[in-house]
């Protein structure tokens, strides 16, 4: 007598099975746990974001965006940290993206499969190097003897950005149909011209998405900047040859303070950073959706 699970008649003793009831209970339980996990994740997100918004929003006034970080016991804002972060992230992109794209091109267009696999491993391992080790590395080879500078900070962040952008670029390049390249080569265009004028433009959307995602990650990195660009004047400066204050390091410092005004500034700075990261993430999504639609 076949008994499909759904048609068990609970009043028919011949059909009732404790095992089945237990299985159903387990099923319901797992469902509840799954929903619970999702709710927990959403809950934590709401909690963290909510706290940041709630505690940070009061400190967001005009002064906050135009005044530099305060000295001991004074008033101030995060203007110098905003400028510093913007400059360092911009330089980081300039340092990392060309190299990353070239590596990806080499892997996709020129390298033999074994070299390609080797480079993939190199990039994945590089991606796994903890940010703090990268910070110490740049500190050891550049900062010692020369002092900190925003450029060194940007170099450290560029090392973090490189594998992310290279992988994203390589994946995009692989998706571009071979026929595109072959048609171009058949028409007499040189390989390098093919790559730069035909393949790359087709990949730009994907590369940009990868860059934007990497920027969102790197903008919040604190550890490398602690060693390379943390001793900076409390004033807005664009001198990249000296250390510049940055948003993550400022938040890190504010977090420790006992002064409630400093803590409020920390929350507000965290709010600014989160908004930036969220906006860039959404931007990346918009890009990739636009690409997929094309």
């Amino acid at each position: 007598m076949s008994t499909v699970a759904e048609t068990i008649d609970p009043y028919d003793i011949t059909q009732r099975s404790n095992g089945l009831r237990r299985r159903r209970i387990t099923e319901k339980l797992m469902g509840v746990l799954a929903i619970g996990s999702a709710l927990a994740a959403v809950g934590i997100l709401a909690l963290v974001l909510g706290t940041v918004i709630y505690k940070g929003i009061d400190a967001l006034d005009a002064d906050f965006f135009t005044q530099p970080r305060p000295l001991f016991g004074a008033e101030g804002g995060i203007a110098d940290a905003l400028v510093g972060s913007a400059l360092i992230v911009a330089m980081c992109v300039i340092f990392a993206v060309p190299v990353a794209v070239l590596v990806a091109i080499y892997m996709a267009e020129y390298a033999s499969p074994r070299v390609s696999v080797f480079l993939r491993i190199v990039l994945d391992v590089l991606n796994g190097v903890p940010a703090i080790v990268v910070g110490i590395f740049i500190f050891g080879i550049l900062v010692v003897g020369h002092g900190q500078s925003a450029i060194f900070g940007a170099l450290a962040l560029a090392i973090l950005m490189l594998p992310m952008v290279a992988r994203a670029t390589q994946e995009v390049l692989e998706v571009i149909p071979r026929s595109l390249r072959e048609a171009s080569l058949a028409l007499g265009v040189t390989k390098w011209r093919t790559t730069t004028s035909i393949v790359l433009p087709a990949a730009v959307g994907g590369i940009l998405t990868g860059v934007v995602i990497a920027v969102a990650r790197v903008a919040g990195e604190t550890a490398p900047l602690l060693f390379t660009s943390s001793i900076a004047a409390n004033q807005v400066s664009t001198d990249v040859f000296h250390a510049l204050p940055t948003l993550p390091v400022a938040i890190f410092t504010f977090a420790d303070s006992a002064d409630p005004a400093d803590q409020a500034r920390g929350w507000a700075a965290a709010l600014v950073l989160i908004v930036f990261v969220l906006v860039t993430n959404i931007l990346a999504k918009v890009f990739s959706r636009g690409r997929a639609g094309r």
């Binding site: 999702a38 070239l102 703090i132 080569l185």
Partner: protein
């Protein structure tokens, strides 16, 4: 006479003047050379990082040798250093974080792929991604000012009330310690692991799960028997990637772990992890030996991250090979 020059590099195309052909080859060679240089440079960079860390750690490696790894000491006054307390801290916080994060991540992934209607799944998936995007320094700020005090005032007393007979929940509640740090790490691992799991579960062939359901299993049984079994290697890889993230996290951990020097059974006690100790003490090392010892910690950290990374990749590669063969 043939105008096609077959000795030219691919892409040289139809023959032009000799000069043109040479110029074209130059462009190709140059470009290839630059791309090769970038790639070689990246590989070289990785090697240089490893070398530099070992080089800076050398004074300590020379002094203490391998026994540094299992020595429990950290006394700058007597210049005795050993990594055991921090290896323990790293292992413990990561283990707690994994044990908590993996079920939660699988739960979230299952919810998103099996239970939730598409309209609900998309925004929730986005929210989980946003959780991944929160910078660690912001989690650290939240940890010091909000979460740590909550753990000390509510969670730890609760645990002590009901499970206080266990030595891990003994001692007095503290807002800085192993437990808050492990919980913050959990929050960091969950989004990554759940995103990977979600991808994995979406790729499980429907016919397998349908077959299980047709044979009379409940939804959960088909998930357990088919989906999870099928995705197991991938889940292992996700776990390892999350682990790698947990090992290397310095900033958020250092803000809530309390900088303790010794190994303590209680999870309420302060402690320290490899990455966190590097972050808090590197700049202030008062002697060559202390600086070297901190770099020795970095070398251990790098080795652990490397091994985790490589194992994860091996699993993924073998997984893909098996899948392709099947």
């Amino acid at each position: 006479m043939s105008t096609i020059d077959d000795s030219a590099a691919p892409g040289a195309g139809l023959a032009g003047t000799g000069l043109e052909r040479r110029g074209l080859r130059l462009g190709d060679t140059l470009f290839r050379g630059v791309a090769l240089a970038a790639s070689a440079g990246s590989a070289f960079l990785l090697g240089w990082i490893a070398f530099k860390v070992l080089d800076l750690a050398w004074p300590s490696i020379e002094e203490f040798g391998l026994s540094f790894i299992w020595t429990d000491a950290w006394d700058p006054v007597t210049e005795q250093f050993g990594a055991l307390a921090f290896v323990y801290g790293t292992a413990l916080t990561s283990a707690i974080a994994l044990v908590l994060a993996v079920p939660i991540s699988i739960g979230i992934a299952l919810f998103l792929t099996e239970l939730a209607p598409r309209r609900v799944a998309a925004p929730i998936a986005t929210m989980v991604e946003l959780l991944a995007a929160i910078p660690s320094v912001v989690l650290g700020l939240w940890g010091i000012l909000v979460f740590g005090p909550w753990v000390a005032q509510h969670l730890e007393p609760l645990l002590q009330n009901y499970l206080g007979f266990l030595p891990i929940f003994s001692g007095s509640p503290s807002q800085a310690g192993i437990l808050p740090a492990a919980l913050v790490l959990t929050i960091m691992i969950v989004p990554i692991a759940s995103a990977i799991c979600r991808e994995l579960f979406l790729r499980v062939p429907r016919d397998l799960t349908d077959g299980a359901l047709a044979l009379g299993s409940t939804r959960w049984e088909s998930i357990r028997g088919v989906t999870l079994a099928y995705a197991a290697p991938g889940i292992a890889a996700a776990v390892l990637l999350g682990l790698g993230r947990a090992f290397g996290e310095a900033i958020a951990v250092t803000q809530v772990i309390g900088g303790g020097n010794s190994i303590n059974v209680s999870w309420f006690a302060t402690g320290d992890t490899l990455a966190s100790r590097i972050a808090s003490q590197y700049q202030g090392a008062t002697s060559q030996l202390q600086a070297g010892s901190i770099l020795y910690l970095a070398a251990i950290l790098m080795a652990i991250s490397l091994v985790t990374n490589v194992v994860a990749q091996v699993i993924v590669r073998r997984f893909e090979k098996a899948r392709r063969a099947a």
